[in-house]
């Protein structure tokens, strides 16, 4: 079973064709690309930020940046890593901007509400709560794998890394999460989110 062999969320040949038409200024290709890729990009931002408004702003920033550098897409190359690399850069820039602003603001702590639990699935923390305990580099890999549906090779391209390094990060993250989940108490006390890892952004 090879993880790399997994098909992407979208048929990439189709996306490549749309990108080529976009570069030739076809408005229909723009609409198709925005509709097909936006949900995935939105989840990429929302999954790591938690704020839907911020995620939408970053989605817009990403598309504007994609529009500016659309000439750098090379025909025949996979589209998803190209798009996600730009999205990742937007996230890094946004993180820095937020950090600058938040360093001048006074924080008001709000305790999270306990969710209503119906079954075994609800006894577990949500995906966002779960990955919040991971170091940023591992959280990013797990989010791209599980939320955005990228393959290890695609993630390696996005993070300017090697497939081996990404695989290693995923294994470490799963190992850590497995250990944490085995220790999740039956009463939902949000133990996992009590001390989340620093929300830094790796480059």
């Amino acid at each position: 079973m090879q993880l790399e062999a997994r098909p992407s969320a979208f048929p990439d040949a189709d996306l490549e064709h749309l990108m080529a038409r976009y570069q030739q200024a076809d408005p229909a290709a723009v609409a198709a690309l925005v509709e097909r890729l936006s949900p995935q990009l939105y989840r990429f931002f929302a999954g790591q930020l938690g704020s839907k408004a911020d995620a939408e702003d970053m989605l817009q920033d990403t598309w504007l940046r994609i529009h500016r550098v659309r000439h750098t897409y090379r025909a025949g190359h996979p589209v998803l890593p190209w798009v996600h690399t730009i999205a990742r850069r937007v996230r890094v820039d946004n993180y820095r901007k937020r950090y600058r602003i938040s360093s001048r603001e006074m924080g008001v702590d709000v305790l999270p509400e306990c969710p209503v639990h119906n079954g075994e699935t609800n006894l577990l923390p949500s995906f966002e709560e779960l990955v919040a305990v991971l170091p940023e580099s591992q959280r990013e890999v797990v989010t791209m794998l599980k939320v955005d549906g990228l393959s290890l090779e695609e993630i390696a391209r996005v993070t300017s890394s090697t497939t081996g390094a990404v695989r290693q990060k995923a294994h470490r993250a799963y190992e850590r999460l497995r250990n944490l989940l085995e220790g999740v108490p039956k009463c939902p006390e949000r133990t996992l989110t009590a001390q989340p890892a620093p929300q830094g952004v790796t480059q």
Binding site: M1, Q2, L3, R6, Q23, A25, P27, V30, A31, V34, E35, S38, P39, Y42, R43, G47, K52, E56, W63, L64, H67, R70, H71, T72, Y73, R74, H77, P81, W82, V83, H84, T85, I86, R89, D93, R96, K97, E120, T121, L124, P125, F127, L130, K146, G149, E153, A156, R157, V158, S160, S161, T162, A165, A170, H171, Y174, E175, L177, R178, E182
Partner: protein, 269 residues
Amino acid sequence: MTCREMDTVIGSHSGDSTLPPEAARHVAECEGCRLLVIAFDTANNGLVPSAGRLKQIQTAMVESLRPVRPLASSRVYLLAFTLISLAVVVLGSFLLGMSGWDALSKVQRTIVFTALTASAILLAVSVVRQMAPGGKHSLSPRLLPIGILALLIVVIAAVFRVRHESAFVPDGLACLRTGLTYSIPAAFLFSLLLSGGAIMYPKLIGAAAGGLAGLIGLSVLEVQCPNLNEYHILVWHWGVILLCSIGGLSLGAAVEYTRRRGSHRNSRI
């Protein structure tokens, strides 16, 4: 099946698909893996952006839609980098002479110039792949410049021996100046090539392109300088690459800072 093997399945499993039988058996027995699979099944929770925002994005993009010429292929850029590098080294050898080349033994020549060529190829490939977002890297672009600097130290230390040198600093400064004289124009030409791409991480590409320009300066010095003192080469010849890499990194940092300031200003408007 072990938990380690299960990681591969977990990574590729999506909520709407069934687990392979072997993985399903493991999940039934292993609490950690079972909970992980359940937790990850909630990951793709159908979050979608608002239709209004998507419409806004599409309108903005269509309004300024013009045909663009795609970036040339990696091979074209590699060829351009190679031609620039060769042209500068040949020009340097023609203007300054080849006393360094003559002073080297056959073995020294082979080892030194093989290492320089291999390093230049690796850096050029890394730079070209960074020009378009999402390029494939077989070697980490973060570690490559550091690795090449380290490799060259080892090569120099292995190939050359310590010799007496009466004017270590004045001779060295002359070599450093010569190396930089050829590295800086090469770096300028590289920056012209790079300006066509989308540079996501200016510091990384700056360090790599600077390192490549430094390698050209070092190559010119190895062809021209007959001084085979190990310390002279380690400090003044290798120093050219170090300075150029640091220069490229600093320029990249400046570009990143300027961009950030630009986006900060835009966000305030």
